[in-house]
Symmetry: C2
Subunit: 348 residues, 2 copies
C-alpha cells in the first residue's frame, strides 16, 4: 500500500510503501498519515496486509486478532480507526478459509475506500448549499471561510470533508477566500491545508491560531467549517485541539459553525463528549520543536528554552450547543440526537 508521508509536506512530496502491519502501525502512530477518514482507510488496508502476512503463520485467526488490536491501539480518539478495523474483522469472519478471508479483506478495504470517497463527494454537494446561500446574501461577494487543521483530501481517501464544500463551491465559480489556521503544534493547516488549497488554486491566507477570534470580531469571517475525529450521538465533537476555541468565538459573534463528517465518525454508543471520548496526549517535543525549510533542507529547530516541560493534547471537545450544524453524506442537520437520528434512523 502506498501513502503520502504527510510529515514532509509542503516542502517534500514523499511516497511511502507500507508492507507490513508494523509499517501501518508506525505510519498511523507517527502521523505519516493522519485525518479521521484516511487513518480508517489505512487501517482497513492494514488488515488486508495482516491477512497476507498471516498466510505464513500457524494460527491465521489469532494473527488477525492480534493485528486488529495493534492497529486499533495506534491512536485513541478518531473513531473511524476502530470502526474500520471492526468492519474488516466482521467481514473476514465470513470467509471459509484463509484464501477467501484474504480476498474478502481486500474487497472490504476497497469498499471502505470507495465509501469514504462517495461520502466526501456527498458532503461537498450538501455543504455547497450553505456556501451558495451566503454568497447570494453577500450579493456574490467573496465568502470568507475559516477552517482549522486539515480535513481536506489529504485526510481522507479523496476530496476531504471540511474542504469538500469549499472545492465544490470554488469549482462552481463562487468567490471564496479561506482563512487557514496554522494549527499548532503540528501545523496541519499551514503545511497541509495551505498546500492543498494552493494546488487547487483556491485563495487562502495562513493565520496564527490566535487570530480567528479577532477576524470574527471584525466581520471578516462568514462561516467556519471543520472536520471531526469523533462525534457523540448527542452531537458533541472531538476535533483537533483548538476547535473549541473557534466554536466559542463563532458563537459569540453569531457566525455559523459547521462540522463536516461522514457518518462513520459518529460514535453512536456514547452521549457525552467530555467524559466519554478518550483524548490523545502526545509528546511535548511536538510543541517545543518545529520543522521547516532552511537553506533548501528540512530542519528541526528548538523554540522553547531547552528542557522545557510541554503538554500536548491532540484534541478538544466542542459541546453540541456551539455547533450550528453537521454536514454529512445524507444531508445537513442540527447538532442534537433527534436531528442526527432523523438522518440516520438505523441507529434509533
Amino acid at each position: 500500500m502506498q501513502v503520502i508521508d504527510q510529515r514532509r509536506l509542503p516542502h517534500r512530496f514523499v511516497i511511502e510503501d507500507l508492507k507490513t502491519v508494523n509499517d501501518v502501525c508506525t505510519a498511523i502512530r507517527d502521523m505519516h498519515v493522519r485525518g479521521a477518514g484516511l487513518i480508517g482507510v489505512t487501517a482497513a488496508y492494514g488488515m488486508y496486509l495482516a491477512a497476507r502476512e498471516a498466510a505464513g503463520q500457524n494460527d491465521f485467526d489469532e494473527f488477525i486478532r492480534i493485528a486488529a488490536g495493534k492497529i486499533s491501539d495506534t491512536r485513541p480518539t478518531a473513531v473511524n480507526l476502530a470502526w474500520a478495523v471492526e468492519q474488516m474483522t466482521n467481514a473476514m469472519k465470513k470467509g471459509r478459509d484463509t484464501e477467501e478471508k484474504t480476498k474478502i479483506a481486500l474487497q472490504t478495504a476497497n469498499e471502505i475506500l470507495e465509501h469514504d470517497i462517495a461520502c466526501c463527494r456527498k458532503i461537498g454537494e450538501n455543504g455547497l448549499k450553505i456556501i451558495k446561500k451566503i454568497s447570494l446574501r453577500k450579493k456574490r461577494g467573496v465568502v470568507n471561510i475559516l477552517t482549522h487543521c486539515n480535513a481536506g483530501w489529504l485526510a481522507f481517501g479523496d476530496y476531504g470533508t471540511a474542504t469538500a464544500p469549499i472545492y465544490e463551491a470554488f469549482d462552481k465559480g463562487i468567490k471564496l477566500h479561506v482563512w487557514v489556521d496554522e494549527t499548532r503544534p503540528l501545523n496541519q493547516g499551514s503545511r497541509l491545508t495551505a498546500w492543498e488549497l494552493r494546488e487547487h488554486g483556491v485563495p487562502y491566507s495562513v493565520i496564527a491560531d490566535n487570530t480567528g477570534g479577532y477576524l470574527m470580531q471584525t466581520g471578516q469571517v462568514d462561516m467556519v467549517i471543520t472536520g471531526a475525529d469523533r462525534v457523540t450521538r448527542t452531537g458533541d465533537v472531538a476535533n483537533k485541539i483548538g476547535t473549541y476555541l473557534k466554536a466559542l468565538a463563532a458563537h459569540d459573534n453569531n457566525i455559523p459553525f459547521y462540522v463536516a463528517l461522514p457518518s462513520s465518525t459518529i460514535d453512536w454508543k456514547i452521549r457525552d463528549g467530555l467524559s466519554e471520548i478518550p483524548v490523545e496526549k502526545r509528546g511535548g517535543e511536538e510543541v517545543n520543536y518545529m520543522e521547516g525549510l532552511c537553506d533548501g533542507e528540512i530542519k528541526r529547530i528548538l523554540v522553547s528554552p531547552a528542557e522545557s516541560n510541554a503538554v500536548n493534547y491532540a484534541f478538544d471537545i466542542t459541546p453540541a450547543k456551539f455547533v450550528t450544524g453537521f454536514i454529512t453524506e445524507r444531508g445537513i442537520c442540527r447538532a442534537n440526537e433527534k436531528n442526527l437520528l432523523e438522518l440516520f434512523p438505523e441507529f434509533v
Copy 2:
C-alpha cells in the same frame, strides 16, 4: 541606553546599546524590546536621547517635536508608548533652556521607570490576594495559572504585571504551576515567559495556544492572568492576539480571568475597544517563518508553502464582560467604568 534584544531569547542573551532616536525607533518597531511597560520606558529614554541629539541642532524644540512623532508612530496599539512620550514632552516644556530641558528629560525618564517598577510591585501584592484565596480553597494544593504572551519582567522595567502576582505568590511559598501559551506567531510565551519562569524556578509547562480551552474544560486551570496593551475607560482590553479566545473559554468554564495592568495602560479618552483601539497589523512573514535553535545556531525555517499569503494582526479585543477583574497598582476592581473610576477618581 542598554536593552536586552528579546528577539534572541531564550537561546542567546544579547545586550544592545541604543544611542540615537533612530536606534530606539528600530528597537521598538522591530520588537527588540516589547511589552506595554517596557516600550513606554524605552520611549521615555528615547526622548532623553532626542534631547541630547538635539543639542547640536539649530532648532532644539522642532527636533524634539519630530522625535516625539517618530517614536509615537513605531507601534500603534499599546497606549503606554504615547503616554510616555506625552509625559516627556510636557515635562520638558518646563525647562528654560536646552540644558535644563535635557536634565528634566533624564529625570522624567527615570521617574517613569521608577513608577513602572513601583506599579509592578503593587500589582504583585494585590494579585497575590487572589492566588492566596484559590490556594486556600484548594487546601494549599497546586494553583494552576494560565498566561498568554509575556507580561513578565522582560515586558516592564521590572517584575512584570501578569507575572508579578505569580512571582510574589511563588516567593511566599504558595504551590504554583503556570500554563505558558506559546503565543504565536512570535512565541513570546514559549521563548520569553518560559525563560523568565525557568530562571526564577517557577514550575511551568509550555502549551500550544490551542490547548487552553481543553485544559479549562477538564478542570486543569484555576485562573487566567494576562497583561494588557490598552484598556478603555469602560474596561475593554486590547492585548496580544488570542487573549480574547482564552477569555471566552474561561467564561464558558467559570474560571476567573484577570488582567493585570498599571493605570498608564488605561486610555481614559475612549469607551469602545473594537471601534476605537487601533490594532496593529504586522508582516505575514512572522507567521510563515519561525526562528529557533538548530545545531547550536539560530536558524529561520519556512513552515507554510512558499509564497503563502499570511495575515498577522498583533492584538485582539476582549470585551469587558469577559474580564473578571483588573489587578492595578491601586487595587483590584471589576471591569467597568464605575469600578475603574472608584480606584482612579481623578479621571471622573
